[in-house]
Symmetry: C2
Subunit: 403 residues, 2 copies
């Protein structure tokens, strides 16, 4: 008998029929003797409708009350899911995040889980129930309802799996698992049987839309092995776990293309100490996250160029920040480029294989793709290419390293 935590997102529970489907799947696991804890999101559309209602009251509602409001979405799904299980003859009981013992800090709308005391979950499991827990929410130590922000239901599932010492944590979604790259770009992209936390983190940070970073970080921190799989079929998914020696046999696990980047170059910055710090401090103060940074070597002149990338939606804000520094910094001009993409290859095998970067650059050169900026980590190489050439470059790199 295993203890399994399953998480279903808003699409999987989007209407009564889909909730019944989820119940059927859960019932199968239950009937073969497993204990099951199910974490669900709000039905798709419900959270947006609640936000719209709140905005009709006021444009910027207090976050304490937003949490009170939004938490009802998941609470509705847990009740309906428990009903669907009872309807198929499986005993079930639902718990809100607070009732499940999920304690968070007090940062409303993006709270962090601090502690889980799952006595009530255990008691209900031991009494023979499937336990349905509301994802995305918790409660502060002094009893205020909080929500965990985007991707919060994944986090609830993984944190519960850690606290319950579950044998398995399954994240059900609308794709079959984690792919070597986006199948819409590369038709022979393959589903991965397994991937390490670090590789998934680098892929997600490179634009692959699988899971929110912090859920993966949490799983890594607490050693929670989880499976990303589809709620639409019975195919095995991708197992995410700590890297093993054998994983290093594969040099490149995945290729990611991020079209959501923009590049800014501050041209002609006087080459004095503190110039870069001033720029990036100002951007940080404006809550703009900067991804890649390249400072060109200054060839004997007293000037340097500093290039960096930001998320496209932050471009205008970043421009304003840098323009505000012009008088003080004395740089010559600011140029921006929205027509770029970031292409990344990720794999723990890079640690033990040399020449990976060279092979990537060579592959791109042979495909006639120019490289704008380069940044590397221990298990990732990212380059900036022309937006128009991004998909072609992805195909070439995928072919060279994967298939």
């Amino acid at each position: 008998m295993a203890l399994i935590v399953q998480k279903y997102g808003g699409t999987s529970v989007g209407n009564p029929d889909r909730i019944k489907n989820v119940a059927r799947r859960v019932a199968e696991y239950r009937k073969r003797g497993d204990q099951v804890v199910v974490v669900v999101s709000a039905m798709s559309g419900v959270t947006d409708a609640l936000i719209k209602l709140a905005k009709e009251i006021m444009p910027l509602p207090p976050e304490r009350e937003m949490d009170m409001l939004l938490a009802t979405g998941e609470q509705q799904t847990i009740a309906l899911t428990a009903m669907a299980l009872e309807a198929s003859g499986v005993r079930a009981a639902s718990l809100t995040g607070a009732q499940a013992g999920i304690t968070t800090d007090g940062v409303h709308t993006k709270a962090k889980i601090q502690n889980i005391t799952p006595q009530k979950v255990h008691a209900l499991l031991d009494a023979g129930n499937v336990v349905i827990v509301a994802g995305f929410q918790g409660e502060t130590a002094d009893g205020r309802i909080t929500t965990l922000g985007r991707g919060g239901s994944d986090l609830t599932a993984i944190a519960l799996a850690a606290a319950l010492k579950a044998d398995l944590c399954q994240i059900y979604t609308d794709v079959d698992g984690v792919y070597t790259t986006d199948p819409r770009i590369v038709s022979n992209a393959r589903k991965l049987a397994e991937i390490s936390y670090d590789e998934l983190l680098e892929l997600a940070g490179s634009g692959a839309k699988v899971m929110q970073l912090r859920s993966v970080e949490f799983a890594k921190k607490f050693g929670v092995v989880f499976e990303v799989r589809s709620s639409l079929n019975d195919n095995p998914g991708t197992i995410v776990k700590e890297e093993t020696r054998s994983m290093e046999d594969i040099v490149v696990r995945g290729v990611a293309l991020d079209k959501n980047q923009a590049k800014l170059t501050v041209v002609g910055v006087p080459d004095k100490p503190g110039q870069a710090a001033r720029i990036f401090n100002s951007l940080a103060d404006a809550a703009i996250s900067v991804d890649m940074i390249v400072q060109n070597v200054s060839h004997g002149t007293a000037m340097t160029d500093i290039s960096f990338t930001v998320d496209k939606p932050d471009l205008l804000k970043a421009q304003k920040v840098i323009e505000g520094l012009k008088a003080e910094s004395g740089y010559r001009e600011l140029s921006v480029d929205e027509k770029i993409a970031k292409l990344s290859i990720v794999g723990v095998g890079m640690k033990s294989h040399s020449g990976v970067a060279a092979k990537m650059f060579e592959t791109l050169a042979r495909a006639g793709v120019n490289i704008g900026m380069i940044s590397t980590s221990e298990i990732k190489i990212s380059v900036i290419v022309d937006l128009a050439r991004g998909e072609e470059a992805t195909r070439a790199v995928h072919k060279a390293f994967i298939s």
Copy 2:
């Protein structure tokens, strides 16, 4: 500085604009220095939509999960109402029933309030907030969410007013207060300035749709003075309180017509001990409540007739129960009459005035209305009349006793 508990029903908070109206009214009280606790129902339509959703999953959902589901309706309203107050510059904080310290028994979907520990409400009030509490809901001692059944939000308000020792409890609704009779039947029906708990109980029990009996019973038990008034205007409403000596000056406080009754007569019941008990025990076992009962005196024969009334929706069920007793009881026949109405006059003044019944019967006789059954209590006289003559009889009686 007074402490005021206000309750707003589903229609009063039916959409964002109406919620803003509620906030405006609350803000007025707050700005003149009062502490205000607001109890709200679910937005009209929300509870029905949730019930519909549940029925799509299964026809008879488990009541524990119905409570989990339905409690979200009020939770949404409290958040939106708190937002609306913040939008008008008034500090506000919302609390679910459980957070407000409302402990109930474990009878899901019609739980009884057992205890209120309002520390959190007091703390938020003392910190300068208007406190918005979800009506209709509570929590068991072991942490399950419960709902209080029909009229539950009134009950929440009155129970909170008792626990907080509030100076005033206002029940906002869509009528101006309690009337001497239904204004749709008697055009010069008057709003009452005050009424005693017992009179309101008798009126509500006689078909006047003002409030659920148990809220009034609770208010009586704990001596909570409350005002029934309109959320659509600023007219003073009706104060409901313990009767005072001066109330007895008025013989008849109100006249109620209940068209929702049906009469059954068991004809030719053998006049032996235990016959009536058998009939009414069987009805009780079938959860049918019986209102008026009349057993005719048996004039020397060994037979008697027993008549009683039930709510119209229970008529068929009651018929089946009585027909099932025929063999055992040996009664001659069962006759039913749906075309009846119950006309009642209510007033604490009856205790100190004689001849009230005689005057009522005389009034009806003069109007040519036959009386079918009669039942009386210390402060009420009810008669059964033909349904077709019910409104006419109401007008005659109202004119004779009130205006």
